[in-house]
């Protein structure tokens, strides 16, 4: 009997450990977070998990020991059972619980406080607008408005510098979540929510929407790149630049088709396409995914997306665009020049 009971407890502990480890694969685990706030929250999470596991283990052990120990000895003479007072154990247990809880509480408060205020005044501000189902990201530079620009579904962060994020919704409630960097903040229509993020380690990770917002809630991926401040400045300067004029004939005719058939909804800076219904495509070719994550950004997928977006991403506001084969080839050629 003891063997299987021990086996059960052993399995539980293993299960807990496995759970922690299993969450650690992939790039969207908050336990893997490297950002300042994310790291603190991950540490808190790990502490709480550890405490919980220990508590469960201790309680299990205590229960099992209580079961194993059985009842108190029966006095053969009187038939009455000896009652061993467990009050000491209760005091002991309470004391430990209180200490642990207080420590956890203190730790939580410290973490929440650290996560709510950036360590330094943020130099960079992002205005993020959640749409169904894509993220509009605008970088602001208060001192140099012309260094500001808009992009979509991608966020770059300079390492070691806090970034202020202002969140707005264009339609329903979303939640802005960069699991590797920081915790979630809801994006609520009618108000502007503020948060801050700070990356600590270079790398690429994935952001997503953390609040169910409709059919394609899962297809709102953000490409998050944390890089050195110099690389970040270079990237920002590049993004603020308008699109270069196409050099090949195909791309040139694609530019004309684009301005005519896509420009009412999309923007490519430096051209007549200045629509704001859909994502800004000025540097579209340097983004890895299309449509918030439904497809990879390659020519075939792009053609499928342009001609059949409603069947690929059900409910998307991107309609099926009626272009003939020549126009389609030209537009795709043009889009690929938008680095």
């Amino acid at each position: 009997m003891s063997a299987s009971r021990m086996g059960g407890a052993h399995r539980l502990v293993l299960a807990c450990a496995a759970a922690a480890l299993a969450a650690c694969n992939g790039t969207t685990s908050y336990l893997d977070a490297t950002g300042t706030a994310g790291r603190e929250e991950a540490v808190l999470g790990q502490w709480l998990t550890a405490v919980a596991c220990v508590v469960v283990a201790v309680v299990c052990v205590a229960i099992l020991w209580g079961i194993a120990r059985g009842r108190g000895k029966t006095d053969d003479a009187t038939g009455r059972r000896e009652i061993t007072s467990g009050l000491n154990w209760i005091y002991f247990g309470l004391a430990i619980t209180l200490v642990v809880l207080l420590a956890t509480f203190a730790g939580t408060m410290v973490t929440l406080n650290a996560a709510s205020h950036p360590p330094r005044t943020p130099a960079v501000t992002l205005d993020v607008t959640g749409h169904q189902w894509w993220w509009e990201v605008t970088y602001h530079d208060r001192a140099h408005p012309d260094a500001g620009f808009t992009t979509a579904n991608e966020v770059h962060l300079p390492i070691g510098q806090p970034v202020r994020v202002r969140l707005r919704s264009a339609d329903v409630i979303h939640s802005f979540w960069l699991p590797q960097i920081a915790g979630k903040t809801d994006v609520i229509p009618g108000q502007v929510n503020e948060m801050w993020v700070e990356a600590r380690k270079p790398g690429v990770s994935r952001g997503m929407c953390g609040e169910y917002c409709g059919l394609q809630h899962a297809m709102m991926a953000l490409a998050v790149t944390a890089e050195s401040p110099e690389q970040f400045s270079a990237w920002a300067a590049e993004r603020a630049r308008e699109a270069r004029s196409p050099t090949t004939a195909a791309a040139h005719s694609g530019e004309i088709v684009f301005a005519r058939s896509c420009g009412a909804c999309h923007t490519v800076m430096g051209t007549n396409a200045q629509g704001r219904v859909g994502p800004d495509l000025t540097h579209f070719a340097s983004r890895p995914l299309i449509g918030g994550g439904v497809l990879r950004n390659d020519p075939i997928s792009l053609m499928r997306w342009i001609t059949g977006a409603p069947t690929i991403k059900e409910g998307s506001r991107m309609p099926a665009i009626p272009l003939d084969a020549a126009e389609l080839t030209a537009v795709v050629a043009y889009l690929q020049t938008l680095r």
Binding site: S4, R296, P319, A320
Partner: protein, 202 residues
């Protein structure tokens, strides 16, 4: 159940949940070797999103703006009906397009007109049947109405038409040959809509 069984079930449940977690799809954002196929989508009726049910391209080119010389009747094809009339979801999308394509800026957010004419009354210079409204949007008109036919897909223009229809001024297609300015001012003229299509009093 015995305690042993409880523990066993709990462990099983734990393991099961872990195994499920391990099935998560890897998303490679570096554009590496991950598959490019779209994720499996739930099967949903997509008929409202596709282009079947719309008049064929070019059919409306045969619809005349003016009266036909020699015959006196406009032979608007009665089959050219408004595909989204009464479809509330499409009308809502048409309303969003009406604002985002800057129609509201010329025709005003309540469609009562400003730089452009009133779209809620029954006076239409170029015809008030849905097909005529579609043509006016698609082709543009001489006093500054831009031509949207190459900028917007058919389906989006028809959604805008459905929205305008829902505001009460449009005429049913079958009455198009009678629907010159003011001819039907004293009749309910809206097709399929619960709104009365009288001249709106300002």
């Amino acid at each position: 159940m015995t305690c042993k069984a409880h523990v066993a079930w709990a462990a099983l449940a734990c393991a099961a949940s872990l195994l499920v977690a391990c099935q998560r799809k890897e998303q490679d954002l570096r554009g590496g070797a991950a598959a490019g196929a779209p994720l499996r989508q739930p099967q949903v009726n997509t008929s409202v999103m596709d282009t079947t049910g719309l008049p064929p391209e070019g059919a409306l080119a045969r619809v005349a703006i003016g009266d036909l010389a020699g015959i006196g009747n406009n032979t608007l094809d009665a089959d050219v009906r408004s595909p989204y009339a009464g479809d509330l979801a499409a009308i809502k999308e048409g309303q969003d397009l009406f604002v985002s394509m800057n129609c509201a800026a010329c025709h005003s957010y309540d469609l009562k007109g400003g730089m452009g004419p009133d779209l809620t009354d029954t006076y239409w210079r170029y015809g008030g049947a849905p097909a005529d409204i579609y043509k006016s949007i698609f082709e543009g008109r001489p006093q500054g109405m831009p031509a949207w036919g190459r900028a917007l897909p058919q389906a989006m223009i028809w959604r805008i038409v459905a929205y305008i229809e829902s505001k009460g001024g449009a005429f049913p297609g079958a009455l198009a040959d009678k629907a010159r300015q003011g001819d039907l001012a004293d009749q309910d003229t809206t097709s399929g809509s619960t709104l009365k299509g009288r001249n709106n009093v300002r």
